[in-house]
Structure formats: structure tokens, C-alpha cells
């Protein structure tokens, strides 16, 4: 019991620390949101006095002591109130997040899962065929893994999107056909098409890590005694590969995968920016460039909670994935 008590205490402290950091870090940032908003508006011509007055009105009143703000902030969070976004005033932060989250979850989530799946299966295969020509795939994945993400995205947009016209280059769906994505076959296909390039970017740059990790685990696993035993038992090679080797080799990757999945909710800043994709990462950029504390905190909090929740779930379910951790301490 004590162990679980400690785990819970750990989660509570981490959550509190992260939440507090979320509060204090943005507040250390320079910048007066009102100035920023007016300045931006002025880039596009005239700012009417009425608007300016409105801006000041909205953004004027946070002269309260930091301490009071902190308590109010904690209080609000406890009540599920993430506040109101300044840059998208008067939209509540939660509404912004709610709109963006499904996109990010679907795209980044799917891409993460695909990258993981390819990595595991590919890694398993390359590991199985260790010492063969397949090993030469490894340096290429290393190369892909080290490519700056946006650079790759831009090249993909340029060649696949513009030159070849293979896939749409912006947005999460075709705004010219649908005001909103619908539950129709055509619309779903359309959403998929729009996810192609962004997903490809993520998959290409993420697959290498999983692949190499899995391949290495696979090579080590294949040298284990229980694999030799399985072979000695006269099992079919396919069965040895998929039942006896892959499962063990993939186990370590799962914890990493869970964390990666948790970070999915924080979106993919750069990718969403390149593709004008309506996700959480985009919100984060909006928040940072407008000194929109509430929005920033909202996104931070979301990520923190997601990571903690996933960790907690992993604590709970890891036993089922890996029987070794099930019973003993």
C-alpha cells in the first residue's frame, strides 16, 4: 500500500509543480498583451479608437498581486475553468482546446501510431534478418531521423503538394467543399487526404527511432536462451519470430510509446504551423506570440495532465503487458 501511496503523492506533487510552473513561467515573459494586440492590428491598417479602447478594457486589469492571481488560477483550475483567451478574446480557452484537440489527436496520434507500428514491424524484420542486407536500412533511418522536421515538411509540400499535386497542402479538411467536416464518406476521405502530408512528415521523421530501437532489442532478444529453446523445440520460424521474439523485444518500446502518445496532445507545433493544421500546437504558437497566458497555461496543463495520466495508466496496465512486473516488487 505504501508504494501506491508514494506513487499517488508523486503524481500529486508533479502535477502541482507543473501547474505552478505553468503559472509562473509565462508571467516572467516580457510583453504587454495590449501592446501586442494593437501593434498587430496596426499592421493591417487603421485601428479605430473604439477598438483600441476595447483592447485596453479587455487587457487592462491584471494589476493584482501575483500571489492573488496564483490562488485565483489554482481555484479556477480546480473548477475546470481555464480562463479566457486574450488573443482570441472572448473565447474561453477550453473551447479553443476542445476544437483543436480532435485534430491533433487524430493526426498526430495516428501518425505516432503508424510510425510506431512501422518501426516495430520493420525493426523486428531487420533484427530477424540481422547480418543481411537489411541492416543497411539503418543508416537511412538515421538520416531521416535527423532531418529537421519543417525542412522535410516544406520539401514534401513543394514536391508532392505543389509539383505533383498529390495531396492537399493546407488545412485539416477542404474548406471549399465543407464548412465543417461531416459524417459522410466523401468528407472522411477528404479529411484523410488532408492528413497525408502532415502525417507523412511525422511518420518519416519518427519511424527511425522506433525502428532502430526495435531492431536492437530484437537482436539482443534473439540471442536470448529462450529463443534458442524455441528453435530447439522445432517451432516454425514464423512463430518464433512473432510470438517468442517480437513480443519481448517490443516491450521496452511500449513505455516510450506511451509517453509519445501522451505528448501527442501537445500537438506538433512546427508541423501544424507549416500546414495550417487546426491543432493544439498551433494554439501554443498563437499563445506564445500573443502573450496569451491563459491559453498557454491551458495547453501546458493539458499536456501535463495527459502525460501524468498516461504514466499512471502505464503503472496500472504495465503488469498486463509485461507479466514480470505483475507480482513481485
Amino acid at each position: 500500500m505504501k508504494y501506491y501511496g508514494r506513487r499517488v503523492a508523486f503524481y500529486a506533487i508533479t502535477l502541482w509543480a507543473a501547474v505552478s510552473l505553468n503559472f509562473f513561467i509565462p508571467r516572467m515573459l516580457p510583453g504587454d498583451p495590449a501592446q501586442i494586440l494593437i501593434g498587430k492590428l496596426a499592421r493591417n491598417g487603421d485601428v479605430t479608437p473604439a477598438v483600441e479602447q476595447n483592447v485596453k478594457l479587455i487587457l487592462g486589469g491584471s494589476d493584482e498581486p501575483l500571489w492573488n492571481q496564483y490562488w485565483a488560477y489554482l481555484n479556477n483550475i480546480v473548477h475546470g475553468d481555464l480562463g479566457i483567451s486574450v488573443s482570441k478574446y472572448p473565447e474561453p480557452v477550453w473551447d479553443l482546446i476542445k476544437d483543436a484537440l480532435p485534430w491533433t489527436l487524430c493526426l498526430v496520434g495516428a501518425a505516432t501510431i503508424i510510425a510506431f507500428a512501422i518501426g516495430i514491424v520493420g525493426g523486428a524484420w531487420i533484427g530477424w534478418k540481422r547480418g543481411s542486407a537489411w541492416d543497411h536500412v539503418i543508416p537511412f533511418t538515421a538520416l531521416l531521423q535527423s532531418v529537421p522536421y519543417f525542412w522535410l515538411a516544406i520539401l514534401l509540400v513543394y514536391f508532392l503538394g505543389m509539383k505533383l499535386g498529390l495531396a492537399p497542402i493546407s488545412w485539416g479538411w477542404d474548406v471549399q467543399t465543407y464548412d465543417h467536416p461531416e459524417w459522410s464518406w466523401a468528407s472522411i476521405v477528404d479529411v484523410f487526404q488532408h492528413a497525408v502530408l502532415p502525417a507523412l512528415t511525422i511518420v518519416l521523421s519518427a519511424v527511425g527511432g522506433w525502428l532502430v530501437g526495435m531492431r536492437n532489442m530484437m537482436v539482443s532478444t534473439l540471442a536470448e536462451d529462450y529463443i534458442v529453446t524455441a528453435e530447439a523445440k522445432g517451432l516454425r520460424p514464423r512463430r518464433v519470430l512473432w510470438v517468442y521474439a517480437v513480443r519481448n523485444a517490443a516491450l521496452p518500446s511500449f513505455a516510450g510509446f506511451a509517453v509519445a502518445l501522451a505528448f501527442v496532445v501537445s500537438g506538433s507545433l512546427v508541423m501544424e504551423q507549416v500546414f495550417s493544421y487546426p491543432g493544439i500546437g498551433k494554439l501554443m504558437i498563437t499563445a506564445v506570440s500573443n502573450a496569451d497566458y491563459a491559453l498557454m497555461q491551458g495547453v501546458f496543463l493539458l499536456t501535463t495532465v495527459a502525460v501524468l495520466v498516461v504514466n499512471f495508466l502505464m503503472d496500472l496496465i504495465y503488469g498486463y503487458i509485461d507479466p514480470r512486473t505483475r507480482h513481485h516488487g
Binding site: I38, D46, P49, A50, V51, K88, I169, S276, V288
Partner: protein, 550 residues
């Protein structure tokens, strides 16, 4: 960045919509796609007083009384208004509004709505004493001081709102007005607002609806997060109208896409110039500013950073071409176009600077070393800054060009805590540089370093000169051209010498439009309105004027 600039236009042509009306296809279902600079996520907000208002609210849905043409001189186009008249002392404005106009919900529009708007607590400028509808088509507005110079602001940017709706609005600051009722050519299509786009459709109650206007029945505004993205979509024909900076214009126009460049807004180097107000750094010395002014190679900057699309700037900040008549001395027509290191050296040495072994000038043992900042992502500014730094080096002035986030930039600008910033000056919407003199150069438009500027004042350089202030005040109280010119001469003499903003170029303002499927766009020959899609008011006028071709 979406800056711009270009060669001066002689486009001060006809005032209203073109006479030879293009004939379009009736009942075309072709949707016009517009990017007006909105970034995703789009959040529904059609409150014209909100800083986050969406573009369609400003012109296409709500209208002011008149449309002033920023791109030309000439009289404003009547929208809801018909005519206006200032009293001689400039303290009273009488406006005649159109009759028979209806709000998009069918309620008749009257002068009372106008009076309501002018006195609406939330938008009322402090100088308005009262506004009354004397009858259904006449409004009389009274001021506490002569307001000749606020003509544009009162008539051209105040969006008229329906009293019968707004009187029930409890918290105007939080009001997002998601079901806007306006008088403009378009109304919001219900349920069309998503994080990426929203759509407006023709207003059946529009006053010109009987004439088939607007002929383009559906307009979609989209959100995008970068120029590159927008440029690609324009090339793909997925965006029909946008205003943004594109370095390689030919690559776009060669695809049959319409293009017009209407440079309007000056780009300058803001200098925190006034040590009395708390500025620090070598730029507070006039000599350094003057040296920098002659050290920079404006031709090179235009060629490289602005792709040759910028316009020549006048140190008087009068827009060359449009405002020529306000330039009081021919010497002040253009800022020097090429670098003159020798002249810069002369100025600096004259002021007691000596060149050190590192090649940079110094005075009292202090090297002239300045940081020139520009917001990240505003490419033209970033590149111009790089060029300026490199050119200044040749003249013995050390400048470090650095990019900062927008928030830091606006903060620095507002608080005056900077040495040099690449910065724009908002061009005037009427053919008169006065607004610039008043808002950007007058001592009463600034504050001490560390305190943000008051609303409607833009004197980021903290420049303060009694002669200029007096002249601005004198010019404001007269409508007589000759008298004003006298005052302008005083202002111009001072600012050309003091250079609190070192003029660099007139930004290109590029507009790309689909001329295959739509006609009626502003052209060089018929610049009836300021063409970019982000133009407030003007975009509504242009949209109402377009006709589909397919």
C-alpha cells in the same frame, strides 16, 4: 511579413466604381475565396469594436458612412451616407444618410442608428459632445474642438451598428456578435464558422440588391498560417483574392493571376531619439541618425529585401504621387537612394566622432554600436535590417540586426526600450500626411520611456519638438489648404533634419486576385478602392463591385 511598397502610382483616378461595368454571369454559384490575413484558429467574432473581429465584419457586413479611398485622392464614396458638412469652426458635423436602407434583418435603417453609434458608450470618442438625429436622414454631431482632421475617422472607420440590437447588449467587450445584423452587401452564412474558414452570402436586404448586387453571392474567408501557404494556394487557384507579400511576382502572374501593387505605408527605422524622455544609446544623437540616413542604400534595400516592389519614400512622409502638393521643399521629395559613406563620415566627424581601429566611429571612447530589431517572420523587415547593418558597417556604424518575437517587438516599441527598430508608419487613408504628423511626430503623442503610449498615439520615437507641436495644433484647426501648408513646412523642416524615424521605403502592398473567374477588381487605371483583401471598408466596396465570370 505582409509589408510592401512599390513605385508611386499615378492612380489618383476616378472616384467611384468603374463606369464600364463588366458583365458577369448571373446566378453564378462560384464561391470567392479570400485570405485576408486571418490566422487559424478562426474564432467567431463579428463585433466591429472587438480587436479580434473577423475581416468580413468590416465592410462586407458593417459599413461606415463613407468609403475613403486610401489609394487615391478624391472624394469619399458614399455608403450609408449621402453627404456631410463641417461647420466652419469645425465643431459640428452634419451628415445626410441614405433613405430606404434596411438592416439585414429587415428593420429599416435610420439616422437614429447613426446617432446611436456615435454616442454608443463603448465606441464614442471623447471629443464628441452629442450626436442627434434631427430627422430620419440627418445626423448632427457636435464636438468640443475643431475636428477637421478626424473626418476620416468619424466617417470612414466608424461602423454603423443597429440600435435595436445593440441596445440589448450587456457586455460589449465580451460580445462576439455571432449573428451580425448589418447593412453591408453580405451576411454571415449560418453555421459556417469553423476554425479554418467562415462564409458570407449576399444580403437579400442590401440596398443595391435590386441591381443584382452583390453579384458574387458567396464569399469564403479562410484562415492560413503563413504567406508561403497562401502563395501556394493562390497558385493552385484555391484562393481568389488576397493581399500579401510575394517575392516572386512573376511566378504568380504567369499563371494568369491578377496582380496589383499599391505602395502606401512607409517603412522606417524607428529610433528612440529623445534622451529627455529617457532614451539611451548612440541613436539619441541626431548626427548618428543623420549619418545612418545617408549611409543606407535604399535602392539595394528595395531591390533585395522588397524585390524592387517598394516605393520611393519622401522624408516628409507625404506619399509621393498622391500627396505631392503637400511637400513644401523640393529637396525633401526623396530620401537619398544610394549609400554615401563619405557624407556619413563627414556628419559624424563634424559631430566629434572619430574612427577607431576596428573601423567604427566612437565618441568619448564609446563606439557607436546599435541593435536593430525586427519581428521574426516579417521577412522584408528582417532582410532590410540585415542590409542596413551591412551598409552601416561600411560607413563605420556598428549595427547588429536581430529578430525578436512579435510580442517583444510590440512591447519594445510601446515602452520605448529599444535603440533601433524596423518599423512601419501607418499611411494616411486620405491624401494628406497630417495624421502622421499628429500621431507620430507630435510631442503630445508620446510618453516617457517605460510608459506605454496612449490610445491613438503612435509616437514611438519619443520625439518631442515644440515647433512641430505648435504647427500640428495650428494645422488641425483650419481647413484652409494654404494655411495648413505653412504649418507643414515647419513640421517638415524639423523632421527631415531630426529624423526620429529614418525613412527607408514605401512598403509594397501587393494584391493578388482571380481575374479569370471574377471581374471588377481595382486596376492601375481604375483604382477605385484600396485593393488588398484585408482592407477594412474597401474590401466590402470591392466585393460589392465584383462580378463572377463563370
Amino acid at each position: 511579413g505582409c509589408g510592401g511598397g512599390s513605385k508611386a502610382t499615378d492612380a489618383s483616378t476616378s472616384k467611384a466604381a468603374s463606369t464600364d461595368k463588366p458583365t458577369g454571369v448571373a446566378n453564378s454559384t462560384r464561391v470567392l475565396n479570400v485570405w485576408a490575413g486571418s490566422m487559424t484558429p478562426i474564432v467567431a467574432n463579428f463585433n466591429p469594436f472587438s480587436p479580434n473581429v473577423l475581416h468580413a465584419a468590416m465592410g462586407p457586413i458593417y459599413e461606415p458612412l463613407f468609403a475613403f479611398n486610401k489609394a487615391g485622392s478624391g472624394d469619399p464614396t458614399p455608403l450609408l451616407g449621402e453627404s456631410y458638412q463641417f461647420s466652419d469652426d469645425g465643431k459640428q458635423l452634419t451628415v445626410k444618410v441614405k433613405s430606404g436602407v434596411k438592416w439585414s434583418d429587415g428593420t429599416p435603417f435610420t439616422a437614429k442608428d447613426v446617432a446611436y453609434t456615435y454616442t454608443y458608450a463603448f465606441s464614442k470618442p471623447s471629443y464628441i459632445i452629442s450626436a442627434e438625429a434631427t430627422d430620419d436622414t440627418t445626423v448632427v454631431v457636435k464636438f468640443d474642438s475643431p475636428q477637421f482632421t478626424n473626418e476620416f475617422s468619424l466617417l470612414g472607420t466608424t461602423f454603423i451598428i443597429p440600435e435595436h440590437i445593440w441596445k440589448d447588449v450587456k457586455d460589449p467587450a465580451k460580445f462576439t456578435n455571432t449573428d451580425p445584423v448589418g447593412t453591408g452587401p453580405y451576411i454571415l452564412k449560418k453555421g459556417s464558422v469553423s476554425s479554418q474558414a467562415y462564409t458570407v452570402v449576399a444580403n437579400p436586404n442590401y440596398r443595391d440588391a435590386p441591381q443584382g448586387k452583390p453579384a458574387v453571392k458567396t464569399v469564403r474567408y479562410v484562415g492560413l498560417d503563413g504567406n508561403q501557404n497562401a502563395e501556394d494556394l493562390v497558385k493552385q487557384g484555391k484562393i481568389d483574392w488576397t493581399g500579401m507579400f510575394v517575392p516572386d511576382v512573376d511566378a504568380v502572374t504567369s499563371l494568369g493571376i491578377g496582380y496589383i501593387n499599391t505602395p502606401q505605408d512607409p517603412t522606417t527605422i524607428y529610433t528612440c531619439s529623445n534622451a529627455d524622455e529617457g532614451c539611451t544609446g548612440a541613436q539619441t544623437d541626431k548626427a548618428v541618425r543623420q549619418a545612418l540616413n545617408v549611409a543606407i542604400d535604399r535602392k539595394q534595400i528595395n531591390g533585395k529585401a522588397f524585390k524592387g516592389l517598394g516605393g520611393t519614400i519622401s522624408p516628409t512622409f507625404a506619399l509621393l504621387g498622391r500627396d505631392d502638393k503637400w511637400i513644401t521643399n523640393d529637396d525633401w521629395k526623396e530620401s537619398p537612394q544610394s549609400a554615401d559613406a563619405a557624407a556619413a563620415a563627414k556628419i559624424l566627424e563634424g559631430a566629434g566622432y572619430t574612427k577607431g581601429s576596428d573601423g567604427f566611429y566612437a565618441k568619448d571612447g564609446k563606439t557607436v554600436s546599435l541593435t536593430l530589431k525586427s519581428p521574426a517572420g516579417w521577412t522584408d523587415y528582417n532582410q532590410a535590417a540585415e542590409l542596413i547593418a551591412s551598409e552601416a558597417k561600411a560607413a563605420g556604424i556598428k549595427i547588429t540586426a536581430s529578430t525578436i518575437s512579435e510580442q517583444e517587438y510590440f512591447d519594445a516599441r510601446g515602452s520605448g526600450k529599444y535603440e533601433l527598430l524596423m518599423g512601419g508608419v501607418v499611411g494616411t487613408s486620405v491624401a494628406d500626411p497630417f495624421q502622421i504628423y499628429k500621431d507620430w511626430f507630435a510631442g503630445f503623442s508620446t510618453t516617457k520611456v517605460g510608459t506605454p503610449l496612449k490610445a491613438s498615439t503612435w509616437n514611438f520615437s519619443r520625439y518631442s519638438n515644440a515647433d512641430v507641436d505648435a504647427a500640428v495644433k495650428a494645422a488641425a484647426s483650419t481647413n484652409d489648404e494654404a494655411k495648413r501648408k505653412e504649418q507643414y513646412a515647419i513640421i517638415q523642416k524639423n523632421i527631415v533634419d531630426d529624423l526620429p524615424y529614418i525613412p527607408v521605403i514605401i512598403n509594397a502592398t501587393q494584391t493578388f486576385f482571380n481575374k479569370k473567374d471574377f471581374a471588377g477588381w481595382p486596376t492601375e487605371d481604375d483604382l477605385y478602392q484600396f485593393p488588398p483583401s484585408w482592407g477594412s471598408v474597401s474590401s466590402g466596396v470591392i466585393l460589392a463591385n465584383l462580378v463572377p465570370l463563370s
